[in-house]
């Protein structure tokens, strides 16, 4: 495994280029171009805010802001996993004709998702001031939480990317699955609503991450460190497991697709 990681490191330039390509060519040809990176989550935000603040009358102050600080990390997770799932099959030509460590592909997808998240925060910070959310030293936890989410996202992305080569249904099943996952994560509702069942919700590794983002950026309080530590360890184990599965399945990629 050590050798593999050394090799992966020597392909970091490819990773950088793939991320750049992903970010630059996704909206190529569209009139608004790169702006879509911002417009897309904003439009989602407007839809959800209309539904849950105006129609469903969720009793939360500054609902759009409440939603936005968790919606962005969720979109990062969801898009990365969904796009990664098809990335090996989608890059058929490359996989069949050129040698490179195949994990570069899902890692690039997850990393460009991370970049989009960071660009998204460019909008979040002005909003924090507009809505007078008090910023405490707990904001320093933000990079750590993003890192934990990145590790978790990598773990799922790498796992689904290699499994999808053998079971192509995964891509389609995952669409529905992600929708359920979205509603089972406290993104659109506050944790108070699910307090009686909270321990079940903690099985979902995205729950502590969502709660932590909201604690820091909406409530201005410090996050629950224990649950984050557990998530971090779980994410790391998942990543190691996924990486090993990927490396094992990787050998037959060129023949399977």
């Amino acid at each position: 495994m050590f050798e593999n990681i050394v090799e992966l490191f020597s392909y970091k330039e490819m990773l950088v280029n793939l991320v750049r390509k992903e970010l630059r060519t996704r909206y190529k040809g569209s009139v608004l171009g790169f702006l879509w990176t911002f417009i897309n989550p904003l439009l989602q935000l407007i839809v959800y805010s209309l539904v849950f603040a105006t129609i469903m009358r969720m009793n939360v102050k500054n609902y759009p802001m409440f939603l936005f600080v968790v919606l962005l990390p969720w979109i990062f997770f969801q898009n990365s996993v969904l796009i990664s799932t098809g990335c090996i099959v989608g890059n058929k030509d490359l996989v069949k004709k050129v040698y490179f460590p195949r994990e570069v592909l899902p890692i690039a997808v997850a990393t460009s998702g991370l970049m989009n998240l960071l660009f998204g925060f460019v909008i979040v910070f002005p909003c924090i001031f507009i809505f007078h959310i008090k910023i405490t030293y707990s904001i320093l936890y933000l990079p750590i939480i993003i890192l934990i989410e990145y590790i978790l996202t990598l773990g799922f992305s790498i796992l689904f990317a290699c499994l999808n080569v053998y079971f192509r249904d995964l891509e389609h099943i995952l669409g529905i699955f992600m929708m359920a996952w979205f509603y089972l994560t406290p993104v659109i509702y506050p944790v108070d609503l699910i307090l009686p069942y909270i321990k079940y919700f903690y099985i979902n590794p995205m729950t502590p991450i969502a709660i932590a983002f909201r604690d820091i950026l909406y409530y201005g309080s410090s996050p629950d460190l224990l649950s984050l530590l557990i998530t971090f360890i779980a994410g790391l184990l998942l990543l190691i497991f996924s990486y090993n599965v990927f490396k094992r399945l990787e050998r037959n990629f060129a023949e399977e697709i």
């Binding site: 392909y11 280029n17 060519t25 040809g29 030509d93 004709k97 050129v98 192509r168 249904d169 060129a254």
Partner: protein, 416 residues
Amino acid sequence: MEIISVKDVCKKYRIFFDKGSTLKERLLFRNRNSYEERVILKDINLSIEKGETIGLIGENGCGKSTLLKLMTKIIYPDTGSLIIRGKVSSLLELGAGFHPDMTGRENIYMNASIFGLSKAQIDMKIKSIIDFSELQDHIDNPVRTYSSGMYMRLAFSIAINVQAEILLIDEILAVGDTNFQKKCYNKLKELKKEKVTIILVSHDLGSVERLCNKVVWLNEGKIQEEGTAKKIINSYLQFMNEKQAINVESSISEQNKNQEKSSEKEILYNEAGEKIDRWGEQEIQILGVNMLDDKKNVKHHFNCGDGATINIEYKKNKDEENYVFGVGIQNNDGNSCFGVNTSIDGIEIKSIKSTGNVEFVIEELPFLEGAYFIDVAVHSVDGRAYDYAKKVYQFNVITAVKAEGIVNIKHEWIIN
């Protein structure tokens, strides 16, 4: 130093007849997962030294590309081991990973990084890549605006400039116009001098012979022969010629079988089943014409320089005063290549048996590659035909001699 070592490598492909790749199909139709195992490579042993240029030749489907893919680690062997010491750059397909919307320059960075180069290394190489591709004016345009030639030139330039220690090339030297091809060859020769190990898969035996110091000939997944370029290419050509001959032979004998019944008494049809041109009163009747090789086997295929015998069987229906037997050979275009008869050669025949045969013995067939037809005739000295049949027998010449024309003139060059 041994840079590539292949030991007892076997590779099978599973050919699925109707494979379900979705979960539903896998669960519902388990029995559909029937497959056939096809052995692509069998017990391959190969040792390649640093700086060697190796040519891989063989028929289509013999496993050349599979062997290259194994060397790049795109696929892995079922059994055996493959050890590669050094950085591999493979040119299995040009322009894999190009993005049409990115400019030529961006694609250089993208593509070279796929080969594992760092940004600093690419910065160093970029000038020579652009120069080599001759795309200076277009390098900042999106690749989708390129012509296919420009596209290939760019891709080739990147792959050949990435400073690999081992370069694997699969049948892609036919890039660009003649000048660019020449440049590619020169570049390969330069790399050869720099001790880059090159493995070349090609059907262009001429360029293999010019570039490679060693050639490996794969046949049906096994190494048939390896050795110096000239020797192996010759025996490969010989093998391919013979194989073609067997095909010709079997297709012709198939046709003959269909005609056997009708042609027992008279030859009215040629090999192709066409009615042949034939005239004369048949005082002497030609019963059959065959061409035999040195071992007296009927054959339709000969190599240039082989010995051959044209055998004419006849039957006498009426006594005549004199007899002349003639043989003519014409090529596919209908040009007469050679024609002679017993009278021209000064042989007088006053009497013949009631049935018999005449043999026309050719010491060395001088013809170059192509299809030829035999005309035979029996006539009187004054030219009245008893039986004259045109194009009664077809034979093919297959040869490694590449000279042009009809006959191979024995020659040598003296350059002063």
